[in-house]
């Protein structure tokens, strides 16, 4: 299959335009035919070849990321081995089912730790979704010749400068509810400009989360996740009963959703599971983000503008997106600030 045929098959499986996928190839590799023939490159010609096989070690809590990384591997024509969590990912199975046999033959799936450990030795490229510690440990198992693309632990925030249309709370609730806030793209903290009364915004966000929760209650949370949420809720309930600068809203008799308003602008880490902090936007957001800059992934912005994105880009985020689309990155996004296809090919020059 050439690139055009692969893009056509993939576009049907993921519900996007063929042209979009071909444009991605063109932007990443210089020309949409780079993988099929020699193309002009300065005073020479060059063509790309997929680095293959690629081992994708993906997470069950972010099915979209799993499908996206597999799509990239298939788009360049590599052989893809994918390690799913032991419980599997239904969305990945559904995606593979929609592919023609030529692309299916480029995929090997396992849920077995033993098999994936063997694949780790033979893969030419390894893409891992994991914590800093575990990503480092996998890296230590690799040979220097293996391409390693880590997607380690990241956190995200949202910034609301103004809310003229009174829709920001609903959009933020979407970002928090989707995939139960799992992964790295959903905001832990929402910074609201003081003129928009952050405490009132927190109350509105609580209403919006409650409403979404009736339609989309969380499923499949572990007892450990619930306990982490419970623990932090009780700590903040204690604080709120003794400190007027803190207030908490939460679902009744379960851990479904939690909103904490806190005047202290310092970044606070959420245990995820629809647990979000609302804080006043400080003059220096940079100072409030006491996390290492390399851990900041997405800033969801409302209202979104490129001009405002320019100033926020100084905070170290690798992605600034409109509020409400945190969990739906574009196919063109630089995942964790890196190109997505270019690291997965090597080149042959001619001339």
């Amino acid at each position: 299959m050439d690139t055009n045929k692969r893009a056509t098959a993939l576009s049907k499986a993921i519900g996007t335009q063929v042209e979009t996928l071909l444009e991605l190839v063109a932007k990443e590799l210089g020309h949409r035919d780079s993988l099929d023939r020699f193309i002009s490159y300065g005073d020479i010609y060059t063509r790309a070849h997929p680095i293959s096989p690629i081992l994708h070690i993906v997470s069950g809590n972010t099915p979209a990321a799993a499908i996206q990384t597999l799509t990239r591997g298939l788009l360049i024509g590599a052989f893809n081995q994918i390690k799913l969590p032991s419980e599997g990912i239904q969305e990945v199975d559904d995606f593979v089912e929609k592919l023609p046999s030529e692309l299916k033959s480029l995929i090997e799936i396992t849920r077995s730790r033993q098999t994936s450990s063997e694949w780790l030795q033979s893969a030419r490229a390894v893409i891992v979704f994991g914590s800093d510690e575990t990503v480092s440990e996998i890296e230590s198992k690799l040979f220097p010749s293996q391409i390693f693309i880590p997607h380690n632990h990241k956190v995200s925030i949202a910034v609301i400068d103004s809310d003229g249309n009174k829709e920001a709370a609903n959009l933020a609730a979407l970002d928090i509810t989707k995939y139960d806030q799992q992964g790295c793209l959903s905001p832990h903290d929402i910074y609201v400009h003081p003129k928009e009364q952050p405490r009132s915004f927190a109350a509105k966000l609580a209403d919006a989360l409650s409403e979404l929760n009736t339609k989309y209650p969380p499923t499949g949370r572990t007892i450990e996740e619930n306990i982490k949420i419970d623990d932090l809720r009780r700590s903040y309930s204690f604080r709120s009963s003794n400190d007027t600068s803190v207030q908490i809203w939460k679902s009744d008799s379960n851990t479904d959703w939690t909103v904490v308003y806190e005047e202290d602008p310092q970044f606070a880490a959420s245990p995820l599971g629809r647990f979000v902090f609302v804080k006043p936007l400080p003059n220096s957001l940079n100072d409030a983000l006491n996390i290492n800059k390399e851990h900041l992934s997405t800033i969801a912005l409302y209202p979104f503008s490129i001009k405002r994105a320019e100033t926020l880009s100084l905070c170290g985020a690798t992605r600034i997106c409109p509020l409400g689309s945190s969990q739906d990155p574009s196919i063109f996004w630089h995942h964790d600030g890196l190109q997505t296809l270019a690291p997965l090919v090597h080149w042959t020059d001619a001339g």
Partner: protein, 341 residues
Amino acid sequence: MNTYTQIESQILSFIDNEKNGNFEELIIQAHLFQKENCQLLRNYCESICKEPRSWQDIPPLPTEAFKNSDEQIISFPKKQISSTFLTSGTTGEVRGSHHFHNLNLYEKSIHSSWTNLQLPKLPIICLTQSPPASPDSSLIHMLSTLGGKFLINSSGHLNHSNLKLIIKKNNHPLILAGTALAFLHLFESGKDIPTLPENSWVMETGGYKGSDREISKEDFYMMINNNLNVPIENIINEYSMTELSSQFYSIGMHDIHKGCHWVRTRVLKPGSDEEVPDEEIGLLSIYDLANLGSSISIMTNDLAKRKGDTFELLGRDKKSTPRGCSRTTDEMLSKIKYGHK
């Protein structure tokens, strides 16, 4: 309202003999006394339940409350603090402080638990520092109250020769006590480990706090058995917290934790104050009458399986921290690390 000393006297008498009082009445009285004298506690408890009608209605206080450096969880004047124990914590973490008016109830509870639960009355040798070297450790104070002898010096080194000498010299049954981590260090020290005299016991506690060690209870107890020649049915697990004044004990591999008549527990459904059904897992909350000087109800961070009125301790899951996209990776790494022994 009764004074601290009057309530303390009633609780001491109740600890001595269950027939000398009524748990429900005593704990409600102690709770009202604590609310009266501690604004932090009052504000929190009244935000949840203003007038508890039974001990189960008293809100368990999160351990976070003990980390406040400006105001303390105490039911007596601050100037009357006589002892303070600190929680263990990793670097940079705020440590909790449990302050005491006096240690009458604390020490009474330790002695009476040991007697009531018919734990072995044998000399206790401790793989810990002594109270003067570590005055803020509640565990070490507990061991000292039980008459323990301490083998770790002030710089943190275990005195192996002293351990061997004590065992050789006495040559009668004893209890070797320490944290699980201290036992692991002993077993992995590479030094000659003396076999304990016949009919000796081991008391382990505290898990592997402050380390990245994780080892199953089965494997750990087998290590104790192999290294010290102590049968598994002679291994005691002690469970308590710095924020409490009483202890729970289990014996052997599959025992439930037992407390005495002045402590009760509830296993709560996360996100609510309802108790989970029997045999289900939830969060452990503890009601301890001996905690008169602070809060008689404490919310632990520990997982437990409800077993009627008591519990099977499951402990904290290290993987409960938010991991972003790490679930599968952790699974895979556990195979790499532990799957090819």
